[in-house]
């Protein structure tokens, strides 16, 4: 009897010691089991967008898994840069995590928690992310954030117009130049291309310009961070970019002042036949609430290539999630980052159209596994598969340096003035001289 009791006790003790090792098994995407951070609350500041509202609606899943409460604060995009900057300046840990545009990331790097240590400790698989997305978030060889809202430039076009005219979607810019007169002749009120050369401080006229420059074999900044856009290749590419308007008459009447949103609205109203824009805009231009166009009328394809036979150069942008160095709950915040970027959620957020009663249409994903997933693509008209093709080719982010906004505005203003009839070479050279001074001062 006594021996039986001892055997039973030993068995129970062994089971009890085995149980924690089962409980120690990590949950989805490396989230720790056992709720070691239960009771903590993490605050995240993020841009106001349906994708993130849907994530907020799902946050209870994370709380149930970990016991960590999540409070989201949404900010309109126009105010986001200043709000996130003030989080860093305040340095009081009021926000544990921030979401921002990658092009501002270099100026936040000094107060963002590098994630390389967390990633290797918890064996997070970064291979599932397109290299261009990670490149956008790596500052001074340190990974400063994880992709959460990543976009690829695409070309949207009027399938119906191209079909009626017997034209194929342009594979190169020259194809579009050749198609332009045919489109104009058949549709006098439709511009062949929705151009946006406007310089409004958001530098959106630089995205297509960057495609031209990189496609031509040039670069925007050199290896030391100084302007390189006055090289012969880059200058020729810039002239060709501006000549879409000034020589080839591809653009609508608002081209010199339109920004991306204006061009998108004009496309939605049937004002242009082709629009180069982020892949998320496809759902906007086919949304019956906002657009006169239907899915039957709008097609998508990779950006036109600079030269025939070469892959198109494509710009990407990423709005990641990062952890503040001033956070009092860094580990809990990292648990949230692992959850919100997990591959299953990445897919679900692009498939499900109702999240806890909130209707949402989101076509933004961040991982290769989501970009190529059949269900994700079925829910999004296969646009993500097209984005994956572009990402595998010649995709890159805009420069990630602290002084980029000031340097970029010089280039953006110069391009805008060139589009209104100014001398391209003189304007870009002058912009480069002024940008040189900015870089010199910044690097001093």
């Amino acid at each position: 009897m006594f021996h039986r009791f001892i055997r039973l006790t030993v068995c129970l003790a062994l089971s009890a010691s085995a149980a924690p090792s089962f409980a120690d098994a990590t949950l989805v995407n490396g989230i720790k089991s056992g709720k070691p951070y239960a009771g903590q609350t993490v605050n995240i500041m993020a841009v106001s967008t349906p994708q993130f509202t849907a994530l907020e609606k799902r946050s209870q899943e994370f709380t149930d898994l970990t016991g960590i409460q999540v409070k989201w604060t949404f900010v309109p995009f126009n105010a986001l840069q200043e709000k996130v900057t003030s989080v860093g300046v305040a340095a009081n840990g009021n926000f544990d995590m921030v979401n921002y545009l990658d092009q501002w990331g270099a100026s936040y790097a000094y107060w963002l928690q590098p994630l390389d240590g967390y990633v290797s400790r918890d064996k997070v698989d970064l291979k599932d992310y397109p290299p261009a997305f990670l490149q956008a978030l790596t500052i001074d060889n340190k990974l400063t954030a994880m992709p959460l809202r990543s976009n690829v430039q695409m070309m949207l076009y009027r399938k119906d117009i191209f079909a009626k005219l017997g034209l194929k979607p342009p594979a190169t810019w020259q194809d579009l130049i050749d198609d332009g007169p045919k489109i104009r002749a058949a549709y006098p009120n439709v511009a062949p291309l929705g151009c946006y050369y406007g310089a409004d401080g958001n530098r959106q006229n630089l995205f297509a310009w960057a495609d031209f420059v990189r496609g031509a074999g040039g670069s925007i900044l050199d290896s030391k961070g100084y302007p390189a856009w006055t090289s012969p290749k880059a200058m020729e590419a810039t002239r060709q970019y501006v000549e879409l308007l000034t020589k080839h008459n591809l653009c609508g009447s608002g081209a010199t002042s339109n920004v991306e949103q204006d061009a998108r609205v004009a496309f939605q109203q049937g004002g242009s036949a082709v629009l180069t824009i982020w892949q998320w805009a496809y759902s906007a231009v086919t949304n019956p609430k906002d657009s006169t166009l239907t899915k039957d009328q709008v097609g998508f394809a990779p950006m036109p290539a600079y030269r025939a036979g070469e892959p198109p150069a494509t710009v990407i942008n990423v709005m990641p999630v990062a952890i503040s160095k001033y956070s009092q709950h860094k580990d809990a915040a990292w648990e949230f980052v692992k959850w919100v970027t997990n591959p299953d959620l990445d897919k679900r957020n692009a498939i499900e159209r109702n999240v806890n009663g909130f209707p949402v249409v989101n076509s933004v994903v961040n991982r290769w596994s989501s970009l190529t997933d059949p269900k994700v693509n079925a829910a999004n008209d296969n646009i993500l598969a097209a984005a994956a093709v572009a990402l595998k080719a010649n995709a890159a982010p805009m420069p990630e340096v602290v002084y980029w906004p000031e340097v970029a505005d010089l280039a953006s203003n110069a391009i805008n003035q060139a589009a209104t009839g100014g001398d391209v070479d003189a304007l870009m050279t002058e912009a480069a001289k002024r940008a040189d001074r900015v870089v010199k001062r910044a690097q001093h």
């Binding site: 900057t85 406007g198 009447s253 010199t256 002042s257 339109n258 109203q269 505005d409 203003n413």
Partner: protein, 298 residues
């Protein structure tokens, strides 16, 4: 409690608000203008000069100011601001006076129109800017639609430096003219009718009566209005952001917009502080003039 104490106690809350919201930022930005602070590198400013650097290096203390004075973008913004201020004052006061003369007097129609004058002034400048931008859009705005309907060449107002400048100016004039018209209507009521009637009896035409009798008597109010409008024009920001955001290029970038961009987009906080203090000089001069004009005769 003495009357003096009660007086100061009544003023104290308002004074405290002014100290916190005006004096504290003024002092802080003045201090920052002599420091080095880029928000993209640090959340604290650092010294441009320390006594240990020696007196020969003291010039570094004024680095931000010398940078501003040699910055062509700053001078461009200063010139845009100066042009904007002068033209805005002339047009606003001119239109306001004309409207005041037209709407001064009895009659139900005049009374209704006077009450409607408040509408443009009651609108938020940011909303006015958004409306103006949409109206001016060449593709889907009213301006584009009118051009197409009249078979005119569609001018991209927002893409043309001169047109964009006048567009922003027009929104500012539209916003402030009713306010000053109401002030001038009140001022017209204070002009003695006897001197006007005497001039009419002597054979003066209405135009002569206006320029020789009425206008001189309105001059104290007009001069205060011009100085006040100049101060408002120098501070214009909302419409610039909403309509053109300083563009095309920097054609409509006023000094306040330039300061905002330097501080909050380019994160050059100390440089923005220095330019802000350069703007304080003409603004302070106008404020002193305003106070002197309003105190005159008291």
């Amino acid at each position: 409690m003495s009357e003096r104490f009660i007086k100061y106690a009544m003023v104290a809350p308002g004074l405290l608000i002014v100290l916190v919201t005006a004096l504290y930022p003024l002092i802080t930005t003045f201090y920052l203008s002599f420091r080095d602070w880029n928000l993209g590198r640090s959340n604290a400013s650092s010294a441009l000069w320390l006594p240990s650097d020696g007196i020969s290096q003291i010039g570094y203390l004024f680095d931000n100011y010398s940078r501003a004075l040699s910055d062509p973008s700053m001078w461009n913004s200063a010139w845009v601001t100066a042009r904007f201020t002068v033209v805005s004052v002339i047009l606003t006061v001119g239109f306001a006076l004309a409207i005041a003369v037209l709407l001064f007097g009895k009659g139900s129609v005049r009374a209704v129109l006077r009450s409607m004058l408040i509408l443009p002034f009651a609108m938020s400048p940011a909303l006015i800017g958004a409306l103006w931008r949409f109206m001016a859009n060449a593709d889907f705005g009213v301006a584009g639609a009118i051009s197409r309907a009249l078979h005119l060449k569609n001018v991209d107002i927002l893409g043309n430096a001169t047109a964009a400048f006048w567009l922003v100016l027009s929104s500012d004039v539209w916003h402030w003219t009713p306010y000053f018209a109401l002030i001038f209507i009140g001022a017209l009521a204070s002009v003695p009718k006897e001197s006007q009637e005497a001039a009419e009896i002597d054979g003066a035409t209405p135009l002569k009566v206006f320029f020789s009798i009425t206008l001189p008597q309105l001059w104290p109010v007009l001069s205060v209005a011009m100085v006040l409008k100049a101060i408002f024009a120098m501070k214009v920001f909302d419409q610039v952001v909403m309509i053109t955001n300083g563009g095309p290029g920097q054609a409509t970038q006023t000094l306040t917009h330039f300061i905002y961009f330097q501080g909050f987009k380019y994160l050059n906080m100390s440089y923005a502080s220095a330019v802000g203090w350069l703007l304080v000089i003409p603004t302070m001069a106008l404020t002193v003039l305003y106070v002197r004009l309003t105190q005159r005769g008291k």
